[in-house]
């Protein structure tokens, strides 16, 4: 489908802008393994200190890049499959909110005014621009859904009353419905707790309430990252694997998306298993729902594998009757046409297998005591968000840029190789982090090279050295893989135009299909999801506001062990004194 003018610019820039930022995010990822291993024994490097860099790494990679991509991908998918024009005015307002919000938050982080990590747990507090920037970014990302995609889908439905909404659009819609719901608790946290505290309208905050609201958002957000990748796995991967490829079952895909809608929300307490002030019965209930949300991924594992089997056998009938041999017929490293994209999704899937297993460990209630806040956790989520999600987004970014610019993918070999190098690097990095974390208690979020991995420090912990060194090797491989990708990405972006600018996706047909009116009732499932989420959060919210918290807390800056107000007062006093002396 042809696309020109403003809409083309908007989608293109929503892919390119976050990728430019991602360069810094990945750069600091590599720096971090060096810091943690004590290769860099310092507080800061090139003017960015460890925790500031960690904040940038988290916010850019996990919040900014993913949000921008979800909007760009949603815009393109909805445009391509519903064939209805997007509204320029809506898109521009959303664009300015997202870019403006990102710039505000980036300013606060780069100038060291918000070194609070991407979870921004109070009572550590950052500059208000960080919080308002984040709100602008996420609220801006909702506008296209409500003002563009939904009206277009309603119009499409009117013209096609007996057709189901296409699965890719269905997945994108489920994802943005989830996004809309989960933004409410974090918006409440930011607008009613953190923002007033950061500008000094209030003096105190309930940190446990803030954490509970945060994780009401913080868990489903990982599914907000994941679902675009799942849309690609269901609807595009079979077609990339083979021209004759088909999705094994369309209803299975819809069922998986509906299960995500239902069970992504009532599970946030699995991030708070070790916290005080919350009755553990509710923690167990959230653990149970977390097991439920594993189910759609297990369904996906089956459906995607079955689709790959179908595609491989359609491509090469000689493996028709084999149980395992068809695995050798997949285009693991092929450069013709769009086959290079297979590398990204396949390497991502392999990493995600380990991400899923380790995620179930995290969710397992008391088992969480052995791994909570150790390096195990980043080890786990680098195989999910740094594995499948990132690789799918990078691959699709490159694909979309080539289509939108009308260029050929340049340095295709590098592009196709990058995901496998990334996968290998991530294996080494995550293995080191997970084993070091689970067995030896190597903590996360710690500039360990200064103390724990410094033989000259009294806090030296030699048992962590081997793991940290292995993660350095992994980190360097990850850096190399990313450079390979960048060469191809910017090569493609600036290559000469050889065909029309289009929005286009390799959408596979379904092998098994059925009308499934129950699954397609998004309104009904949304209401059910909201009800389940609210019910499962009433008891813990009662605990953290009424029973478990004895008093509120003043704000702190990460540099000083005294409350911020007190600090500002003493600063004001010394200033006054020195001014008097000057006179």
């Amino acid at each position: 489908m042809k696309v020109e003018g403003g809409i083309r610019f908007i989608i293109l820039s929503e892919v390119v802008i976050p990728l430019l930022l991602l360069i810094f995010g990945v750069y600091h990822g590599v720096m971090q393994v060096l810091y943690r291993a004590g290769v860099l024994k310092t507080d800061s490097f090139l003017g960015i200190d460890y925790y500031q860099g960690l904040t940038l790494h988290g916010v850019i990679n996990a919040i900014v890049f993913t949000t921008f991509f979800a909007v760009a991908f949603g815009n393109a998918v909805v445009l391509y499959l519903l064939k209805k024009p997007l509204r320029s005015a809506v898109q521009w307002v959303a664009w300015f909110m997202m870019v403006g919000g990102t710039l505000m938050a980036a300013w606060a982080m780069f100038t060291k005014r918000a070194t609070v990590l991407y979870t921004f747990y109070p009572p550590l507090i950052g500059h208000w621009t960080f919080y308002i920037g984040a709100v602008l970014l996420v609220v801006g990302s909702l506008l296209p859904f409500f003002l563009d995609w939904i009206p277009n889908a309603i119009a499409w439905k009117r013209e096609n009353p007996d057709k189901k909404i296409p699965l890719a659009v269905f997945g994108v819609f489920v994802n943005h419905i989830l996004w809309t719901i989960m933004i409410i608790p974090v918006a409440v946290e930011i607008l009613f707790q953190l923002f007033p505290l950061s500008v000094g309208w209030v003096d105190e905050i309930n940190p446990l309430l803030a954490r509970t609201l945060f994780w009401f958002f913080g868990h489903p957000v990982v599914y907000f990252w994941l679902l675009p990748a799942y849309v690609m796995l269901y609807t595009m991967l079979p077609k990339i694997a083979s021209e004759k490829g088909k999705l094994y079952s369309d209803p299975a895909g819809r069922l998986a998306f509906i299960l995500f809608l239902l069970f992504s929300l009532p599970v946030g307490l699995h991030h708070q298993f070790t916290e005080p002030g919350i009755t553990n019965a509710w923690k167990l209930i959230h653990a149970m729902f977390t097991f439920c949300v594993a189910l759609p991924s297990l369904i996906t594992a089956f459906t995607v594998a079955a689709s790959l089997e179908y595609s491989a056998k359609a491509e090469d009938p000689s493996v028709k009757n084999s149980k395992f041999y068809w695995w050798t017929r997949l285009p693991y490293l092929r450069l013709e046409g769009d086959k290079w994209l297979f590398s990204y999704l396949f390497a991502g899937l392999i990493l995600f297998f380990f991400g899923g297993v380790t995620g179930i460990v995290n969710a397992s209630y008391n088992l969480n005591l052995t791994v909570h806040n150790t390096a195990y956790v980043p080890g786990h989520f680098h195989t999910t968000v740094g594995g499948l999600v990132l690789l799918a987004f990078l691959g699709m970014s490159l694909y979309m840029v080539a289509k939108l610019r009308g260029t050929d993918v340049r340095f295709k070999g590098l592009a196709a190789l990058a995901p496998y190098i990334w996968m290998q690097g991530m294996f080494m990095f995550s293995y080191a982090m997970m084993v070091g974390g689970a067995l030896e208690g190597f903590p996360r979020r710690t500039n360990a090279g200064l103390t724990y991995l410094n033989p000259d420090s009294p806090l030296y912990r030699p048992e962590w050295v081997g793991y940290a060194q292995l993660s350095v090797v992994g980190g360097i491989l990850l850096g190399i893989a990313f450079v390979f990708f960048l060469v191809s990405f910017f090569g493609t972006l600036f290559a000469p135009k050889v065909r029309e600018s289009v929005v286009e996706f390799p959408i596979a047909e379904a092998y098994h299909d059925a009308p499934t009116p129950v699954l397609n009732n998004l309104k009904g499932w949304t209401v059910a999801a909201v009800l389940l989420a609210v019910l499962s959060y009433i008891p813990p919210l009662y605990d953290v506001t009424q029973r478990g918290v004895f008093h509120n807390s003043p704000a702190y800056n990460e540099q000083y062990p005294i409350p911020l107000k007190q600090l500002q007062q003493t600063e004001a006093k010394t200033k006054e004194l020195s001014m008097k002396e000057d006179r």
């Binding site: 507080d43 925790y51 299975a252 005080p276 710690t446 918290v549 807390s553």
Partner: protein, 149 residues
């Protein structure tokens, strides 16, 4: 849904149920449970190690930027092997973590609240206590010690 799909779904559900039953057994049968909402102990200002019996202790830990106060400002304490310790944990400023390496004691210290866990130190040795939640620029030096003799 065809037969292969039904089989896959059954295997997935059985597997998850099996895991969940094991968890509940470990929590309720073996009593390896998570911290819960403590309402009978008020947040405290000072670390204290109280001995109730030769092998029974009560430990009040205050996590603060950037040390663990185990006993009147001490960041290191000694207890005999085989002691059962009731650990109470609070924070006097920001959020901290408290992970006693090599044990299942893994708690968050949140200001305004009290966290609780009981642990029996059977093996003698040095137990490093690490803060594993970012708590400011001194975070990577926030480590205490429990020496079990």
């Amino acid at each position: 849904m065809d037969r292969a799909e039904r089989n896959a779904l059954t295997v997935a559900i059985v597997l998850l149920l099996f895991f969940f039953v094991l968890i509940v057994y470990a929590a309720k049968g073996l009593k390896i449970d998570l911290p819960t909402c403590v309402t009978d102990v008020q947040p405290f200002k000072e670390g204290k190690l109280i001995q109730h019996a030769p092998d029974r202790y009560e430990l009040h830990v205050v996590a603060k930027m950037w040390l663990f106060d185990f006993n009147q400002g001490n960041t290191e304490i000694e207890i005999p092997a085989g002691s059962t310790v009731d650990i109470y944990l609070t924070s006097s400023d920001v959020v901290h973590g408290m992970h006693i390496n090599g044990t299942t004691v893994n708690l968050m210290a949140i200001p305004g609240t009290v966290n609780y866990m009981r642990y029996k130190f059977d093996e003698p040795g040095v137990y490093h206590v690490v803060c594993h939640e970012f708590c400011g620029v001194g975070h990577h030096a926030m480590q205490g010690k429990i020496v079990v003799k």
